[in-house]
Symmetry: C2
Subunit: 424 residues, 2 copies
């Protein structure tokens, strides 16, 4: 990184991050799950910080905390910057919060320079981006995109509470959700730690996210026969785990093949499996494998799923068991970063002397939902070892400040019309 004199206050941004991180379950750092008292404590702290920066705060019907800085030409629409302040259990200090506080730092920097944008500017802390105890993610950004459904509002969490009631508790209004839906957003920008190893490995300052990968989850059920492990000769077995092992290897080979093509980012993982009865002296009778696949291009995903459906039943059969079901658990389409916004981020990085690369995000983000209704883009900053969702998650102050500075530069360009809006 060559930048040394950034137009944002690196120390102030860092100090905010460390202060918000302290609002955690002391027994499980860093934990501030959405809808909990700790989350509301973090929100109260954020609200105060927003107001200290001269932002007018409100909570919208979707439970999002918004700090607003009016622009000089109200009809130009709103530039929204932010991320989320909730964490996973035993998560880190950067995932989400870095984006919210970098956005706040951008607003403060503008304020200190006395720079009034033509556009309205909003800093946003989106509600419940992480999968909460209610089993649903991106509650706030879905509301803004108009895609928070009644079925989602009826999800039940701790103590039998429904999402709708939890939303009320944090200041939202499930009965007036339409008010949360936005049509005035001129641009959405989100800074986030990469949560992967690419920027660190390649020694690049910033990732400019062209695409957020689509995510498809499949459940594969392998059926064998649960016989006695001592008394069943090798050639009379129908061992579901032996077949599942062959499927796991074949799936890894297929994923490598798909990722090695020049068709954009692709990964596929089996990280979760369930063996029945899972006893040392019983041959596995059945195994369920959860496949998590992420593809930058929809066609790649469709190709992968088709190949999986074509190949894996044979792999199971050749190993003495049967692939009895391939069930789609979820299927989210890829989201495209706005070309003009990506260019604005690129030019801002160049102007700051920061190295950068285009990349796809393998993780989901609030930006996915904003991208459905407005031009949106993300900037990734490096993190150590690609670690995330764990207490060891780490980024350096200068890395985050560089990302905030690039976002500030892009906003100035967007505001003066130098960045052509991708929706025009």
């Amino acid at each position: 990184m060559k930048a040394s004199n950034l137009p944002v206050d690196e120390a102030r941004l860092w100090s905010d991050l460390m202060a918000l991180a302290e609002i955690t379950d002391p027994n499980k750092p860093y934990t501030r799950r959405s809808f909990t008292p700790l989350f509301l404590e973090g929100r109260a702290w954020l609200k105060q910080r927003f107001e200290n920066a001269g932002l007018a705060t409100r909570i919208d019907a979707g439970g999002n905390l918004i700090g607003r800085r009016p622009g000089a030409k109200p009809g130009n629409g709103t530039i929204v910057i932010g991320s989320h302040s909730d964490t996973v259990p035993s998560g880190g200090r950067f995932d989400g919060t870095a984006g919210v506080l970098a956005a706040l730092e951008v607003a403060r920097s503008l304020d200190e320079r006395g720079h009034v944008l033509d556009h309205d500017l909003e800093v946003i802390d989106c509600l419940a981006e992480e999968v909460s105890a209610f089993g649903i993610s991106c509650v706030g950004s879905r509301a803004i995109a108009g895609s928070l459904t009644d079925e989602m509002l009826a999800h039940v969490g701790p103590g039998g509470e429904q999402v709708a009631d939890a939303l009320r508790r944090v200041g939202g209004d499930p009965d007036r959700l339409a008010q949360a839906k936005r049509s005035d957003i001129a641009a959405y920008l989100e800074l986030h730690i990469e949560q992967g190893p690419v920027l660190e490995t390649e020694i690049v300052d910033l990732g400019i996210v062209e695409t957020i990968a689509g995510i498809t989850r499949l459940e594969l059920t392998v059926a064998g026969r649960a016989d006695h492990a001592g008394t069943t000769p090798m050639h009379l077995r129908r061992d579901a785990l032996v077949a599942a092992a062959a499927i796991m290897s074949a799936l890894r080979d297929l994923a490598l093949e798909m990722s090695d093509r020049s068709e954009g980012y692709f990964v596929a993982t089996i990280g979760e499996m369930h063996v029945e009865p899972n006893a040392a002296n019983v041959i596995a009778g059945s195994v369920r494998l959860i496949v998590d696949a992420r593809a930058e291009r929809r066609l790649t995903m469709e190709h992968f799923v088709a190949r999986l459906r074509e190949r894996m039943p044979d792999v199971a059969a050749q190993n003495g068991a049967e692939l009895t079901a391939i069930t789609t658990l979820s299927d989210v389409l890829p989201a495209q970063g706005d070309a003009a916004l990506c260019n604005a981020l690129t030019e801002a990085a160049d102007a700051l002397g920061l190295t950068h690369r285009r990349m796809a995000s393998g993780a989901g983000h609030d930006a996915v939902h904003f991208s459905r209704i407005a031009p949106a883009a993300m900037v990734f900053t490096p993190c150590r070892g690609g670690r995330s969702h764990c207490p060891e998650e780490w980024a350096e102050p200068g890395e985050l400040a560089a990302g905030a500075a690039a976002m500030l530069g892009a906003i100035l360009a967007i505001d003066r019309g130098a960045a052509k809006n991708g929706r025009d």
Copy 2:
């Protein structure tokens, strides 16, 4: 099966089996775990049946229920026949009980013919053959063999009770365990359902067990790195589950190779595994695999373990992870059936017109412990689909009666000295 007019009462044996099976947890048929009130209820029923057959009953210091029929020449030693009446949770109606009740039927048949053996005859219900809630198997037969250790007696079960106290509760005497140890046993015979598919598949009436396989259990620990499944490119992963899958396939291949040699019975199974963190969106950071291997010959087992230790670290490394530990959880030597007793069973089967084959038992049995102190052999009868330790466990009345008849024929031969004692 050609036998039609067997020297035992098939209907009476079957009726006993079905009656004992009724003494079960009604919500989890068929459950009568050792040391429980239901087990004691089953024992009380058995004691009555033993006494009705003219047997003098007692419970020895090892908690075994013994019914004795004195012989004409007390110095000749004791012929012991039996098995166990305890079950696994949700087990079957035949595993163990078939051996106890077939032994009772043999004693009744002798009684009805007025045939007094030269040897004393004992029918035995060995205590707690199955792994109980105390985490230990073959409590009673270990006591008879003198191998129930103080460490085993100190095992703790439900409510913090020790094995020693549980043993007292069922009528045993842990302070006088030496009294349970036997040196007078001239022969031990045990009938058991095969618990495997060989006899049914080959359409053979009886299995004469030459060897009870040794059992070695190993735990393999595979270490990778628990990264984000969405953001970690395929070529930067250290996926413990991908490596574990390769190990499972290689282990199956090795087991097939070992079992295809002409070195006696061999099987190896991974039926139990633990994945961390086992979440769909996280690459597996570590996997533990439990290997259960059974070998008729000790050299085969040693060869298998050596090959596993030699090969598997490379398999893990070639798949991007590390095999950090191979731990021996348990290691039991094979037990040999007595040659003279096996011949006596063979000749008895021939005389009855029953088909038979020599075989190894892949499962452990009370006979393992008797074989350490006396000539011992087992006779296996077919069961449906090899199913056992489940409510579907099934054998036909005639199959069990054929086994009992062969045991009776062998006892008569042993008693008249026609079967040369393998220890002479």
